[in-house]
Structure formats: C-alpha cells, structure tokens
Symmetry: C2
Subunit: 344 residues, 2 copies
DNA sequence: CTGAAAGCGCTAACAT
DNA sequence: ATGTTAGCGCTTTCAG
C-alpha cells in the first residue's frame, strides 16, 4: 500500500478508493462530482475511503475528459498598479467562489506580450478570459480566441464573438469635470491627457472634457491640451513645461489631468514652483486611486469604478461558463462620479 | 474535415496531424517536444500540418501523461499592494521565460483563506509554489505540501522538506535606522511596530531597533513601543495617540514607523497637529514603497528588496522544477539598505 | 442504483 | 529513425 503522506497523495486514484470502499470507480466519481444520486451507504463508504487515503482528484484527467479546466485567465497591463490589482483581486475572489482558479498575465502595455499571453492562455486551455485595458486592438484579441472573453475598461466594438464589454463612462466623467470647473468660475482650462491615440479611455476623457467646454461657449484658445502617458513622470514633465509660461495673475487656470498618478506628478511640479493649489491652479485627476484622498490638498477626481467593473466582468464570464450564456452583444457601462475634494 | 477556425482549433489532435503529415503520432510528439531527433523531412511535414490545421497541443493530456503542469502557484496577502504586486510581476516574468504559467492566490491575511488556497493549488496540481509573507505558520504550510515550495519574506525554519527560504535582513535594516537616529543626535525614540506576534518581519524590526538602541546605552524609558498593523489607518491612529501627550520642547523624538504605509499615516497625524517633520519629530519608514520619495518631506526609509527576493525565489523554484534540485536547507538572505531622505 | 468498459489526447516504452 | 501501442486518471455511456 502506498504510504499516506501528509495530505498530498499523488499516487492515489479513483481505483484505489473504489477498491477500499468496495464499489466501482463510477460510483466513486458519482459521489465526488455529485452528478448522480448515490445511496447513503455507498456514499459514506466512499467518503471514508477518500479521507482515509487522503485522495485528491487529478484535475488533468478530469479536464481531459470533460474538456474544462476550471481555470480562467486574466490579463492586465501592470500588476504593480493598485488600480489593476483591484481588478485581479475581485475577479479572483468571484472565481474561487464558483470553483474556478485564476491565472495571471501581465503585459507591461507591450502589444507583443499581449499576443504571447493570449497564446499562452489558449495553450494552457483556460475556460475563459478577461482582458483588462488591452492595447491590442480589441478586434485582434477577439480574432484570436474562441472561448468566452470579457474586455474590461475599453470601448465596445460590434462583434458576433462570444465576448462582452464592461467599461466606464469616461466621457461623462470628463464632462462632469468640465461642468464642475465652469461652476467654480474658471475661465482658462488645461487638459493633460493620456495616450489618446492608443487608449480609448484617454480619448473619451479628452472628448468629454473639450466638447463640454465648447458646448458651454469656452473658446478653443482658452482650452489647451497636451498628450502624454499615464505616469507620474509624464504628469510632472508636462506640467513643468506648462508652468514655464504660466502666470496666474492673468487668470487662474483649471487643469484636468488624465489620471490621478499623472495628477500627483503635476502637483509636484506646481509645488516645486511654489505654486499653491487651488489658489494658483485648480487640479482635477481621474481614477480616484486610494492615495488621492491623502494628497495635499486632497485631490478632486472622478471615481473610476474598476472594482464594480471587474465584479460585473467576472459574473458575465462565469455565467457564460456555467450557464452557457452567450456573451455576444453584451455590454455594461458603469457610471462615473465626480469626487469633490480640495484641489479644485 | 473540421473547419479551420481562427487560431483555436480545439478539435485537432496529434492523430489528425499525424495523418495529414503521413507520419506516426510518436513522430509528431517528438517534433513538438523536441525530445528525440526527427529528420528534417518529416519535421518539416509535421510543422506544415500543425500550422495548416492550426493545431494546439492539449495540455491536459500532456500533463496527465507527464504529471507536470508547467504551472506554478503564487500566494500573496494583497494584490492591491504594490509591494506584493512587484513580487507577482517578477515571478511571472521569470516563469514565463522557462515556459511556466502562474496562478495567483490572494489571502487578505486570513489564515483560513491561506489554507484553502494551498488546498486549491494542490488540487489544480501546480508543479511548485511560492508563498509570499504567509501568516500561516511556516511549519503548517510545509506539512501540507509535497511539491517544491519557496517561502518569501519570512524567517527560515529548519526543515527537511523540499523548501527554500528567501528573506530580507529586517534586523539589520532596523538596526541601521537606530544607528542613523543616534548619529543625528536624537535621544528620545518611538517605534510604531507591525503585528509583532504574527509576522516575523515586524518582530525582527522591533528587535533590531530596540536592541541596537539598548546596546548604545539608550535607556528603556527613552524608547517607547506600540504595536499595530501595517496600515495607513493604524499608523495614523497610533501617532495621533502618541501626540496627545507629546511636547517637542522636552526633546525631539525620532519615530521608526514599521512600514512606509504606516509612516504615511503617521505623517498625516503630525500634519493634522501642525507639527513639522523633522523639526518636531523625525520619521523613518520601512520598505521604500514607490511613493515614499514623493512625500513631503521625502521619507527616509529602508529598502526592502522584494524584487530581488522574488527573483531569487523564482529561480530557486524553477531550478527545483527543471533540474530536480532539492531545496531543503536552502536559504537566501537579501540585504537591507537605509535610504536617507528628508524626514529624519 | 450500481458496475463494466470505452476513451479523452498525449507521451514513452518497445519494436522494427 | 520511425512506428505501434499501452496506458496516465478520470468521466460517462450503456447494461444490468
């Protein structure tokens, strides 16, 4: 007999436990999977044998037979960013409740890596995947994949694939910022944007902000825009450049900085110039990252509900997997709420 | 013939491609796994068939046969914390290079969850695992597991299991802080510690700090200690309490706050009281989280080399997996370096 | 309700 | 160097 080593008996199979419980392997399988009714008596015997031998089903064999891995893949740009960390946390928590495991892939915003990752997920035969903020064109990811997918934090595209979209209303969020600034009486505006050409979030925010301002009669020359990346350094650098020829005495400006992290950088640049916020310039960020409320002054921003989005995404995917629901055409848009604090 | 759908042909097997290439399944397997030499001619034919049919090997079948999943599990307390995010990032990057996938588990510092996660990894048959900063007693995790494990960021224990330890020298790091404060001329000291009873990092830091101070002749009454958790709120609350009866005029205090996040909280409490750092109190953190250099004043802290540790951990595990190296008795300790900035 | 047996797709002996 | 074939451990018809 194979020795019972602490809790991890690789050698024990259904056969062994069938033998010990004096039943067939089919019965063992039936009590384990709960798919067919088994009499109390036999079920008891099986369970006893299972714990006596420390049996642990072999998931490869199971998966080979059922063609399901109970594994879902999640891909995010950067695990070091708490915003995406939150997404992973939520998806993982929901998945585990339904008996799914999660495998994680990180892209570093590199398109090539994204392609490789998707290939990797397919190879390791995940049952479904969620892609958070992909840089690869959505069409390209869908083309590569047959299994259910949900794309998070990107604008939906029309598709007949088994794919859903969960995204936030970045346009309205940015529009709310514009309205807020207007209500505060600002007359000069600045937008330090994210990578508009690559990321729909960035372009939606830009559009929402600028269009609202125009609609309310602000002249183009009173609203400057600069494009950059969603990083501290970029926020710092762009603001530093702007500040070179900025004089608050000629009219205080309100700046919508494309993300909280950029906004932090921008605030540093102001600080270095001994400028006070909001006295010399109003600052609004976007995302409502955890730290933003602790900045000085506390950062006015827009809640980007990544937690809610990933929750919805997880459930969509899990429904597709468990109930066979087809995702095609499903989109859910989460709202965006302005969080008023002291920076503008 | 099964239609070739975009890049993901679940129905195609070795058999199909053997047929198409007019070779045996063994030959197909051999060219795919590269374990035996196959002539140019046949290899060519096989590769052509593979890409023509869009074949993708079924990893379940492969794993069932070889008893290897090429999957490693990583468990961390909180994916929302960039410190642990870094660990995941590094392990994932190293794993993928060697052809391994990573599945992620999060504990929320709940011991029960840790136990469940380990169970989950074992069920999904990971080849090895890395546990970062477990709360479960190390002995308990080792007892549960037969596969190679590396424990990161915890003090090693003696074991004959296939387990390695990678940790940082928290004692020296904290000692360096004490020396630094002494050198600056401080005579009154405070330590706001992490969960000393549960986490060896916290207790090591406490020990390193207090013992060094004592060794250098500081009286016990001049060094106060309070225990808490590694959170912003806890840092804030403990410092607020301390401040109720603190008067810098009677001697400026230097506070070693157990982690950067706590230190941030503590700095907020000082700020609320209109106290200036370091004029009214010196503050030193621990971890060198990314944001610490942007705080005002920039936070003096100790580099906790999580990136390096996880790199070493990944390689240890991968060596165990690939080269069959037994990990028993392996420990690697990473150094800790004081980072002098403006808060103390 | 229970058991016998086929077979999921792959790899690795073994045979040629 | 290549082909034949026996399973890996499980689930799932199909009989009984």
């Amino acid at each position: 007999m194979i020795a019972e080593r602490n809790g991890n008996n690789l050698g024990i199979t259904v056969k062994d436990i069938a033998q010990k419980a004096k039943v067939s392997t089919a019965t063992v399988s039936n009590v384990l999977t709960q798919k067919k009714f088994v009499s109390e008596k036999l079920a008891r015997r099986v369970c006893d044998a299972v714990s006596a031998l420390g049996y642990r089903p072999n998931n490869y064999a199971r998966s080979l037979k059922t063609n399901r891995s109970y594994m879902i893949g999640i891909q995010i740009p950067d695990i070091t960013n708490p915003y995406f960390g939150k997404a992973v946390e939520v998806v993982q928590a929901e998945a585990i409740v339904k008996g799914y495991h999660v495998t994680l892939y990180t892209t570093g915003n590199a398109i090539e890596t994204e392609r490789r990752n998707i290939e990797g997920m397919l190879n390791s035969r995940v049952d479904g995947m969620v892609c958070v903020a992909p840089r690869l064109r959505v069409k390209d990811v869908l083309d590569a994949v047959q299994i259910p997918v949900v794309i998070v934090d990107r604008l939906p595209v029309a598709t007949d694939r088994n794919a859903a979209f969960v995204y936030a209303d970045n346009y309205s969020g940015a529009a709310a910022i514009a309205e807020h600034m207007l209500a505060r009486g600002y007359t000069r505006f600045l937008h330090l944007s994210g990578p508009v050409a690559l990321v729909s979030n960035a372009s939606e925010r830009l559009k929402g902000f600028v269009e609202t301002l125009e609609k309310r009669g602000v002249r183009k020359t009173d609203c400057r825009v600069r494009n950059g990346e969603f990083t501290f350094e970029c926020g710092y650098g762009m603001m530093r450049d702007v500040l070179r020829k900025y004089n608050p005495a000629k009219g205080v400006m309100a700046a919508f900085v494309g993300s909280d992290i950029m906004a932090w950088g921008a605030m540093e640049a102001l600080h270095d110039r001994k400028m006070r916020i909001p006295r010399d310039m109003g600052i609004v960020g976007y995302d409502n990252i955890d730290f933003s409320r602790f900045l000085h002054p506390a950062l006015t921003t827009v809640e980007n509900p990544i937690g809610e989005m990933s929750y919805r995404a997880a459930h969509l995917l899990l429904d597709a997997l468990e109930k066979g629901r087809n995702l095609a055409g499903m989109t859910v848009m989460a709202g965006a709420a302005l969080i008023e604090r002291n920076s503008c």
